[in-house]
């Protein structure tokens, strides 16, 4: 009885990661603004953390991090760690800021992307280069966050519905039990 909703949730998450990764690696390079593409997998992780809970945020972050790490040239695990943390922190923030407001989840996408940018900069760039942080902030971190926030408006309405459906499914199961 309990296994079916978990299975459904897993399928939704896997399909989301699959589609968003395809969009991010194969479609958005054609739609780059100022050489920058949005970070869709981060948006997904942030939504799962903030609109569902810590646990699902972490699992989404873990999956997204793995998928990025599989196809990137950095040390394996870099993206796992940061996205895992972002999913968890978003879940924690949910406890503090509660509400069905559109602004908050999207605000947290922006904050998460800034955190992501800072982390990648610190881990992979700060020690090797002569560390011109301003440049990276203005040319990569902030543009990426802005673009991600723009895209997250669209994704928000899709995921708000998916999450409402998930809640309903979960309640159904509780009734049966």
């Amino acid at each position: 009885m309990k296994i079916i909703p978990i299975l459904k949730k897993a399928v939704v998450l896997l399909v989301s990661v699959f589609i968003l990764n395809i969009l991010q690696t194969a479609v958005f390079p054609y739609l780059a603004l100022g050489g920058v593409i949005p970070n869709l997998l981060l948006v997904l992780t942030s939504f799962y953390g903030f609109m569902r809970n810590r646990r699902e945020g972490m699992i989404a972050g873990l999956l997204c991090g793995l998928v990025i790490d599989f196809s990137s040239g950095t040390l394996f695990g870099t993206h796992v760690i940061i996205l895992l943390t972002i999913g968890y922190l978003n879940g924690l923030s949910r406890k503090v800021f509660f509400g069905d407001d559109v602004k908050l989840p999207i605000l947290f996408v922006g904050l998460s992307d800034l955190l992501y940018g800072l982390f990648i900069y610190l881990v992979s760039f700060a020690f090797r280069q002569s560390g011109d942080f301003n440049f990276y902030l203005m040319n990569i971190i902030i543009p990426e966050a802005v673009y991600s926030v723009m895209i997250s408006f669209v994704l928000y309405f899709i995921y708000a519905r998916i999450f409402i459906w998930m809640n309903r499914e979960e309640r159904k199961v509780e009734h049966i039990l």
Binding site: T25, P29, Y30, I37, M58, L75, G77, S124, F125
Partner: protein, 285 residues
Amino acid sequence: MEKKKKTRIPSESLFIILFTVGIIFLLLSYVNNFKGGIFGTVTNAIFAPIQTGIERVGSRASKYRADSKTIDELTSENEKLKKQNENLTSKLSQIQLQSSELENLQKLYKLDQQYTGYNKTGARIIARGSDNWFNTFTIDKGTKDGIRTDMNVIADGGLVGIVIKSGRNYSLVRSIIDDTSNVSGMSLNTGNTCIISGNLQSMTKSNRIKITNLENPDNKIKSGEPIVTSNISDKYLPGILIGYLDSTKEDSNQMTFSGTVTPAVDFKHLQNVLVVLSKKETGAK
């Protein structure tokens, strides 16, 4: 709801466990060059066919956009091309004169037999890396076409990068403009070695990458000098054009020079690449 599920691991502990797993991944990758093992290969192999399909559609769409030019544009372009043609013919005669000189040089560096003699296979870029920080991409050929890790990737006669991982139907390539890339190079005419490092900052600002540790006695090496892969590099085949020297400045040690290089490959519009199917024999293994 929470009370019922007391048997589950609390979120805090789960976070700490997963975080530790992440750190273990990092260490493994650092020590052992771990890249996700079989899971990574399988995941990427699933993504590759779809990325190939989308790339086909995408490149066709951008070609269509390029096709739809107005007559005005075409006539002006035609005139421009005519002028260019004149220029080129005059240049050609100059170059023919110089080519005999070039032949001698090539013989000197044995470029002709080393560079053109390699077996190569063409491949298409089907996906870019997932974020804006690193310059890696996926191509649509893998181990079944004979591509292995550490093979060199070239395009337009210049060095593009190196294969860092290959699965059955895909390979990951790190380009030389990636911030973590370092290539041992040398100046074509004098043979002085140097290090070419990818640099996100100068690449974004001015499409150039860094050159360091260049020995340049008496300032002999001028800007415009072709920089090729050196024969002491352990992964790159010798004599592949990397780019042209842009500007140099003497380092504070007053022995070496560093500056910028314009890559020979147009990385912004790269769609097709050639993978050199032979690896450098270094005798290491």
